[in-house]
């Protein structure tokens, strides 16, 4: 392709994005756009799959049959999200197997929040309420992102996530209306999940390397700091209803900006966990790798069986 042809394709591509038209898998796209989307969509898919583990940890111990069924359904939803996000990612010319490989070797990242342990039942409430709450804020803008398959997958993901968030909040509500011990359990969960949830919305704008390009491609519509402020402003009144205290002594309503001021975030901790030093990084990856490696003979069997069936069919046809 000549340079002039590439220039013209680029111009068409930019014009499409500017007009809010979708880019589809067979459309021409710049290599950097393709790579950025593989990185982001796969990171998102991995987060869904790794995210099944901390909640899966409580399925067998859920305190009632209703809660057990709801938790199972929720974790199953996460698997479903993983499935269609991997599929969306595959439309960019990479296989699921390669994507798994990137996760298992540590080449690809997933949301750092899942590297914290789930220590009590209240963590199921706090994760739904805070972690899914932060995820929704991150993800709603993606429903109108420029890459078609991703945008369409996100419409469904967001619907289910908002259901998960309500479910999480409802767990917290039951605990806070319960015994003193239950209420303490809820407060303890909030104390542990609050700061990691704020970190989930990404590094501060001044330290975010991908923001500018992502805004241009509509992979991002608001900056990390804007999203974080939105999350805090919507969550504080919800904590008030629960009668719980946000573990930030500097949290204060700022009339002038129409939002809350909040204390400094421990970014050292954030980067330590990103680098792999969080309490559960090793366990989460080991669990994923184990499931994959132990499942190899099963996948091989399914392939071999399908092949045999095909051969039998072909023989019959002759």
């Amino acid at each position: 392709m000549s340079e002039a042809e590439i220039k013209s394709l680029e111009a068409q591509f930019e014009a499409k994005i500017a007009n809010d038209e979708k880019i589809e898998p067979k459309d021409w796209m710049p290599e950097k756009y393709r790579k950025t989307h593989i990185r982001q969509i796969s990171q998102h898919a991995h987060s869904e799959i790794v995210g099944m583990l901390p909640e899966g940890n409580w399925i067998t111990r859920a305190p009632s049959l209703r809660r057990k069924a709801a938790l199972l359904a929720k974790v199953q939803d996460e698997a479903g999200h993983g499935l269609y996000l991997y599929s969306a990612c595959e439309t960019l010319g990479i296989s699921r197997e390669e994507l798994y490989n990137q996760l298992h070797t540590g080449a690809a990242k997933y949301s750092s929040i899942f590297n914290y342990p789930t220590l009590t039942w209240a963590d199921m409430g706090a994760i739904g309420w805070l972690v899914d709450g932060a995820a929704i804020i991150n993800q709603v803008p993606l429903c109108s992102t420029s890459y078609g398959p991703y945008a369409r997958a996100m419409v469904r993901v967001c619907k289910e996530e908002s259901f998960h968030q309500r479910q999480g909040y409802e767990i917290m509500l039951s605990l806070c209306n319960g015994t003193e011990e239950q209420k303490q359990m809820a407060q303890d969960a909030l104390n542990r999940w609050w700061w990691p949830s704020l970190m989930m919305l990404g590094p501060e704008d001044k330290d975010s390397v991908h923001t500018e390009q992502s805004m241009k491609w509509k992979l991002k519509r608001k900056t990390n700091d804007e999203l974080r402020q939105q999350f805090i402003d919507q969550t504080v009144p919800q904590a008030d209803i629960l009668g719980l205290t946000i573990p930030d002594p500097e949290l204060k309503w700022n009339e002038e900006k129409g939002g809350y001021d909040f204390g400094p975030i421990d970014w050292d901790e954030f980067w330590q966990v990103v680098k792999g030093h969080g309490p559960m990084n090793k366990k989460r990856l080991d669990d994923r790798r184990n499931a994959w490696e132990k499942g190899k003979w099963v996948r091989d069997a399914a392939m071999a069986y399908a092949q045999k069936q095909n051969e039998r069919k072909n023989k019959q046809a002759i």
């Binding site: 799959i49 583990l53 399925i59 049959l65 209703r66 974790v75 605990l175 184990n290 499942g295």
Partner: protein
């Protein structure tokens, strides 16, 4: 199949009948509970996303059935006890689940073989239960049969894939089938409460379907290129409250919250 005859409205006024019906229902529903619990352990650890989702689905279906049965039991008991009291607050000896469903998730072949042995039974059972003289049970059977048919197709298809897949999968499937075979016959065990409910037309007489069960299972094993095990004896006990050594651990985990924080609402 027997025609439906309606249960005499006075039937449950007898204390003895009531207790038999409760015991009978526990014998059905406890299997669902323990199997759902076992399958719940696997969530997030499947060999691939698709079977992971499917197994969670089966677990959810079984949990749905458990809840309906336990809610019916608490209605019959009429003493204010809830589905959760029944699920979480009994002692080990009071559970009526068969040994088969307690067996651990040793590997995917065990999960599938255990499931298949149970599913074939469960589908036949729910099919027959649709003729029950008890209206609620007919409705539960009608609701459950669609799910149970899907479960049987899932586990049967996978057993064929494993049996007729690779040499390794064949060996693993054969081992699982061999190890679990001794637990199959307990599914057909009839105790005093079962007999009473069969006589009343509430329960189907599953013993009459025993031969058909083994024929169905053996046909699929053959199709899966697996050998039908021959055992000189079958293991029993769970249905009468004498469980495997696994059961205490299953309950310890399942009951943990209810035992640690009694009288709390969740």
């Amino acid at each position: 199949m027997k025609p439906i005859r309606e249960l005499n409205p006075q039937f449950l006024e007898s204390k003895e009948n009531k207790q038999h019906l409760i015991d009978y229902l526990l014998g059905v529903a406890d299997n669902y509970l323990i199997l759902a619990q076992r399958l719940g352990e696997l969530c997030g650890h499947g060999p691939n996303l698709e079977p992971d989702i499917a197994i969670t689905n089966i677990s959810l279906d079984l949990l749905g059935q458990v809840r309906s049965f336990y809610q019916y039991i608490s209605q019959i008991k009429g003493d204010g006890s809830t589905e959760d009291d029944i699920a979480f607050l009994r002692k080990e000896r009071e559970y009526r689940s068969v040994l088969l469903v307690q067996q651990p998730n040793t590997d995917f072949a065990y999960v599938i073989a255990r499931q298949f042995f149970f599913d074939v039974f469960n589908k036949m059972f729910l099919n027959a239960l649709q003729q029950s003289a008890d209206e609620t049970l007919r409705a539960l059977a009608f609701k459950g049969i669609k799910e149970a048919s899907y479960h049987e197709r899932f586990s049967g298809d996978w057993l064929k894939r494993l049996g007729d897949g690779t040499e390794e999968s064949h060996d693993k499937a054969q081992k699982a089938v061999n190890d679990l075979w001794v637990f199959t016959d307990e599914l057909f065990q009839v105790n005093e409460s079962d007999s009473a409910m069969i006589d009343a037309g509430v329960a189907p007489d599953m013993l009459q379907l025993r031969e058909y069960y083994y024929e169905k299972v053996e046909n699929l094993l053959t199709e899966a290129t697996l050998e039908v095990p021959e055992v000189p004896y079958f293991q029993k006990g769970g249905k009468n409250g004498l469980h495997s050594e696994y059961m205490g651990y299953i309950l310890a985990e399942m009951q943990y919250m209810q035992r640690t924080y009694p009288n709390s609402k969740w």
